[in-house]
């Protein structure tokens, strides 16, 4: 029995001559929220579609809770909300969710009960009898999320759940996802371009570019690995601190705080504490800057671009 809920092994997907996903291997552990990030066309949606059985890999295999991909056993464990959800034009919200519930194998009574639960949970009750196709983008996203949850899957795959939404709707969707994760102990693979929001809910990041996985690590490990050693310092006499350290460390002044940039961060901390102690200063702030997902993404992607440039130069 595999300890992973989703496991992809050397999966490649080609569309004609174009390779959308190239030798991708990923493993998702239960109960974690994975952020799946990468530029447009990197292969995020294709990878998700392969896990969901909508696309078949050209090479490689995968399993979902030990079921081969695209089998009813695997699909039973998965809930999927695509980037662009299409709805039947003749169905109201309640009809659509009921249809999805019965499709997922729920009996009629169970389907009615579950539909009502989700209408409540997603705050859609007052729109239940309106045609989904006429909903706003935000509400359609909610319905899409609700249908992905209809059969109580153990793993959720959310492809750009906040794309094209206004900030309020984005926050609403993310709050709902966060709540679902907490209440139902779900494993979630979520792709998004809005990285500042994504980092508030994920605990693992998978980065993909040109079909290759370029980072697959817990978010704190990734931040640790790529952090640049930035220390924000504020004392009762910043000039004195600078006088003693300016010749040893790179720095710049930012809103009256000193922003040191060094790879010897531990030594810098000791030096500052020493100065504060010896000079009898007040230490207002000593804060190591945490690398945001956005910065992490930029760093890695810039690195990738540089590497590509080097490769091209070498070639």
């Amino acid at each position: 029995m595999s300890e992973y809920c989703i496991e992809l092994k050397n999966v490649t997907k080609k569309f004609g001559k174009f390779t959308a996903v190239d030798d991708v291997s990923i493993r998702l552990e239960p109960g974690k929220v994975y952020g799946f990030v990468g530029p447009n066309g990197a292969g995020k949606s294709t990878t998700m579609a392969i896990i969901m059985g909508a696309l078949f890999p050209t090479k490689g295999t995968g399993r979902v809770f030990n079921h081969p991909l695209a089998t009813p056993g695997a699909l039973k464990e998965l809930g999927y909300s695509p980037e662009f959800t299409s709805f039947y034009s003749d169905m109201s919200c309640v009809e659509y969710l009921y249809y999805m519930a019965t499709l997922a194998g729920l009996s009629s009574d169970e389907a009615i009960k579950r539909t009502n639960e989700l209408l409540d949970q997603f705050d859609l009750k007052q729109h239940a009898n309106r045609k989904v196709a006429k909903f706003s983008t935000g509400m359609k996203k909610k319905v899409s999320l609700a249908q992905s949850m209809i059969h109580r899957p153990k793993v959720l795959l959310l492809d750009e759940p906040t794309a094209n939404l206004d900030p309020t709707s984005r926050q609403e969707i993310l709050d709902t996802v966060r709540k679902m994760v907490e209440e139902e102990n779900l494993t979630v693979l979520i792709s998004s371009h809005v990285l500042t929001e994504l980092e508030t809910i994920i605990n693992h990041v998978i980065m993909i570019d040109h079909g290759h996985i370029i980072l697959d690590a817990p978010i704190h490990e990734a931040q640790e690995k790529f952090k640049q050693g930035i220390l924000l310092v504020d004392t009762s006499n910043n000039d004195l601190v600078l006088e003693k350290l300016a010749n040893r460390y790179e720095y710049r002044i930012e809103e009256e705080d000193i922003r040191f940039n060094t790879i010897e961060i531990e030594q810098l901390k000791k030096d500052i504490v020493g100065i504060v102690y010896n000079e009898n200063l007040t230490l207002n702030m000593l804060k190591e800057e945490v690398l945001s997902l956005d910065s992490l993404y930029k760093q890695i992607m810039e690195g990738e671009t540089k590497n590509e440039g080097n490769i091209q130069k070498n070639a």
Binding site: G53, P72, G73, S86, F87, M100, L103, A104, Q147
Partner: protein, 304 residues
């Protein structure tokens, strides 16, 4: 998979399809009822055959022809391609059901829907024909005795066109791409060969029997004749059968021995057996199986 079956059935029985079926039944019924109201009846069998031949033509061309073929083409071509184009198939296949189950449910829903529409048109045709023509019991039972033949022929037409429609629907990404070849086949079955035959007839050009191999009109009319044969056959005088022959190629004129019948133009109408009916049925049966089987193979491996 009840829910997909029900949804496909509902989609097949949409208001426009029901209206078209009713209109086809009314049109056929009125046409048959009006001509049935004779004042002079030379003989029962003559009148019966005349009524039956008109009824056969109405069923072959209208009810199980243009209407059934158009409806089955429209419904089957959208079965998968329509959902692919609208983007709803991706969600459908990510629910825990096998793709084969989804396709079987859709096919059964579609076949049930078209059977209901076909029955509706046929029933309306019979009702109007009988009441408008003020037909007596013997005539009514004679006309009704061919209903099983019409249903059997309708079933064969439905299976063939739907199998092709489903196959094209599994291949194409848009409904219209799957629909056009089906409509072309319908035109080739019910239109072009007839025009071609009439032109050749007027030009007094002898048609090569080899053309029977590609004459879809002849194939389907032979199947129709075979279905009618199971219910008593198609009978009539040479004159009654002549128009049927011109439009369907299921009969052909054979000149009689001038020593037996005096006069140069004497001919009788004989069944056109250029191709053996069992051979035609076997080929179409095989095509139906291949089409459905291919559809299942394609849908199981289709990227959505």
């Amino acid at each position: 998979m009840k829910v997909i079956f029900r949804r496909t059935l509902e989609e097949s029985l949409r208001i426009p399809a029901i209206i078209i079926s009713i209109l086809a039944g009314v049109l056929a019924g009125v046409a048959l009822g009006r001509t049935a109201n004779y004042n002079t009846i030379p003989a029962f069998s003559y009148y019966m055959n005349a009524l039956l031949i008109r009824q056969h033509m109405a069923v072959f061309f209208l009810i199980n022809g243009v209407v059934l073929m158009t409806m089955i083409s429209a419904i089957s071509s959208g079965l998968i391609a329509g959902e692919v184009h609208e983007g709803t198939l991706r969600i459908l296949i990510t629910k825990p059901n096998s793709r084969s189950t989804i396709l079987v449910s859709k096919i059964l829903g579609m076949l049930t829907g078209t059977a209901i529409l076909s029955l509706l048109a046929l029933t309306i045709m019979y009702i109007i024909e009988i009441f408008m023509g003020k037909l007596d019991g013997n005539l009514v039972s004679g006309l009704l005795s061919y209903a099983p033949a019409y249903l059997l022929y309708g079933t064969i037409v439905t299976l063939f066109f739907s199998s092709l429609g489903v196959l094209l629907s599994c291949i194409a990404k848009r409904k219209v791409v799957a629909l056009l070849p089906l409509l072309a086949i319908m035109i080739v079955t019910l239109g072009l060969p007839i025009v071609f035959r009439i032109v050749m007839e007027f030009a007094s050009v002898e048609m090569s029997p080899i053309l029977s191999l590609v004459d879809l009109n002849y194939h389907f009319s032979s199947i129709f004749r075979w279905c009618c044969d199971l219910c008593g056959g198609i009978h009539g005088t040479a004159g009654q059968l002549e128009s049927l022959a011109m439009l369907t190629n299921m009969f052909e004129a054979r000149r009689m021995d001038p020593d037996v019948v005096r006069g140069p133009a004497s001919a009788i109408m004989k069944e056109n057996n250029s191709l053996p009916i069992m051979g035609i049925l076997a080929v179409y049966g095989l095509l139906i199986c291949i089409n459905y089987l291919s559809s299942f193979i394609i849908i199981r491996k289709k990227d959505v």
